[in-house]
Amino acid sequence: MPRLRATSLVTAALLITIVAGVGVLPALAQLGTVRLGLLTSMTGPAAATGEDQRRAATLAVDEINATGGVMVREANARLKLELVIGDDQTSREGAVSAVTRLLVADKVALVFGGLGSAFGMAALPQIREHGVPYIPTPSTPLFTRNQDMGPDPTKSMVFHYQATGLMYGAGIVDFLVREIKPLMSADRPLRVAWLYQDSPFGAEYVRGYNDRVKEVGAGIETVALERFKVGETDYRTQLTKIKALTPHVLVPMGFRGETVAAIQQAVLDVGIDPKKTHIGPTCACADDPLYYKDLGRIGQYTTILSLYSTHAIPKGATFAKWASYRKSYQEKFGQLPGLLGVSAYDAVHVAAKAIERAGSVDKRKVIEALGKLEMDQMVLPVHGGKIRFDPKYREVPFVLFVQEMFWDEKVKELRPVIVWPGDLAEAKYKQP
């Protein structure tokens, strides 16, 4: 009897594993295409932004394929690009699972994209194991650096196409010191309070901010570093504490919805007066059509530190590309694009260019090509107008700018004006 049950158990288990194996087998590779893997969040709380990336990437792939594809010398032909999506389900486990599938089942030539720093990092060990070129778009600098922020040679296949939290943090300090301090506390230190997301994403901003404050010397006094967990939307208690500390500046840092809630709660519920306390600069990821719509009138005079803006762009070389991208996206999808989408769009073009320069889809050759790459900036503005991954950290020196919000009665929404840095500013910062 035990033998029978065992045999049957065995037979069934065998059948199941075979069926399972067949069921999850990947589709055969489409011959003659170059597969690019977009690793982002298609389900879970970050799904909306993942969708933005998917759309933007599709736009880029279609654009390139419309010209016949990418010229691959080794194959002696123009090969079309094929976009494969890996859904990290807004979780670390999902990221590991998705990237494994992309690398092992779909056998993509390159992985790019992402919006959650934590999830992109979770995929990193697999990327390193397989030695596949990776162009991540979340902001954490840890993609190419080690814990102490030094260069990490084991991550030589990673090319970071996004402004890092360090850059943002430093940008915040520079703006506050140059523009806000002279107006609000010229002869005393500027009292700054943070309300930020308790996550690797938030931690990096604060690290960049702290590092820059140390460099700049006296002038800034950080009076509060209040935190909230990701997903939390009630900050009234933390804001009450901040109000009791009477800061000159409140920097609310988080995703778009969190930032809107923080500002509304600060002004309406806790009674922080925007005339006495400057609110901002908020995170670039908040720069999104819904931000302007949801924040409302109370968002007047707040500032946002952007890399890509929904409604304003530094005049110059990127203007044409920005306008055309915006138009295509809006025509095709009926919505305005966001920062993460643009990053994915640019990343596809960067990947295509690298493959072309390498003349091959071989991992090592593409990585080499990315290391030596020099191409005109795409939609995101870069210092010097050329996209180049610096040899030490393989990061790109993006241009960051600060916008101030004003109420536009015509459209009944906030509209931004670039107020910093000097060479890009449309106007000087106006105190309320």
């Binding site: 389900t43 009234r236 208690t237 933390q238 009450t240 919805g257 809107v260 819904l290």
Partner: protein, 294 residues
């Protein structure tokens, strides 16, 4: 730091407001548990369903959210009844852990159904806009948004209504009876299946109200209900499983404790506070603060 009267008042106020939401959640869960002895972890998703219904009524049809709330309560109440009949009733008599399994399945279904409908159009968060969103009441020390006042009034009025139902109607008597002793209730001729159904519906409706009120003062998404519901569970264990009084007092107290603790310990401890409290209390009184029973 200036710890003045205004600050203290505010901390208490936030605690009162979030406590009122917890109170409604906890009452719904404890009612269901008292009558059916069922643990439904998907209560947070019912809460969010209620919030989204109110949102849609306001956003698409312009219905004043404070009216839409009642429609939402009815709709989610019906949903609750369906869930009870199709799911929990079938699991009666099987291992208790199956209910948890079923609620996990429910969470998957409800969360992702809501996400499917809302995320493509509305992205991560929405918030229910009321006509009084920016109107404030100036009380000298602090300013109070009208919405907060209405929230408190609605929450307490509903509880009062619930009290009336529980203690002044036949249905209420049946509910209390079934909650205290199911067998005796059956012997007394109470149709316990009907009581089960209606109690689940009422519990779900209370969850919908909690969600709608929450959604008026906070941005929310399909995933926002899980944590408040879990905290509400901790609250009812503290207050005594099945005890409505315990749920009301516990929910309110917890809201205030959470607010105070967040102020002094920082945002990182906000979610863990419920459980520290729970462990501390259960170590001394393993049966909770109040006795079981309505």
């Amino acid at each position: 730091m200036v710890l003045d009267a205004g600050t203290l008042l505010r901390i208490l106020l936030w605690g009162l407001v979030s406590g009122s939401v917890y109170m409604l959640l906890a009452t719904g869960i404890t009612l269901i548990f008292g009558v059916m002895k069922v643990v439904n972890f998907a209560h947070g998703e019912l809460m969010m369903t209620g919030a989204f219904v109110t949102f849609i009524l306001s956003h698409a049809f312009g219905l004043n959210p404070y009216v839409g709330v009642f429609v939402s309560m009815a709709a989610v109440g019906v949903l609750g009844i369906v869930i009870e009949r199709v799911g929990f009733r079938r699991l009666r008599g099987t291992a208790k852990i199956n209910e948890i399994f079923f609620s996990i399945a429910l969470i998957l279904i409800l969360q992702n159904a809501l996400a499917r409908i809302f995320v493509p159009r509305f992205r991560e968060y929405v918030q229910i806009k009321t006509p009084y969103a920016t109107e404030v009441l100036d009380l000298g020390l602090i300013t109070l948004r009208y919405d907060f006042v209405i929230l408190l009034v609605l929450a307490w009025a509903t509880l009062l209504g619930l009290w009336v139902v529980l203690y002044r109607t036949g249905l209420g008597r049946d509910v209390r009876g079934t909650s205290q002793n199911r067998t005796a209730a059956m012997l007394m001729g109470i149709r316990v299946e009907r009581v089960d159904m209606l109690t689940f519906g009422i519990g779900a409706a209370l969850g919908a109200l909690a969600g709608s009120l929450y959604g008026i003062i906070n941005p929310f998404g399909p995933y926002a209900g899980t944590l408040p519901a879990i905290k509400a569970f901790a609250v009812i264990i503290l207050g005594g499983l099945g005890s409505v009084r315990g749920a009301v007092v516990g929910g309110l107290l917890y809201g205030i404790v959470e607010s105070v603790a967040t102020f002094f310990l920082g945002g990182s401890w906000r979610d863990a506070i419920a459980f520290v409290l729970l462990i501390v209390v259960l170590l001394t009184r393993p049966q909770g603060l109040f006795r079981e029973g309505a």
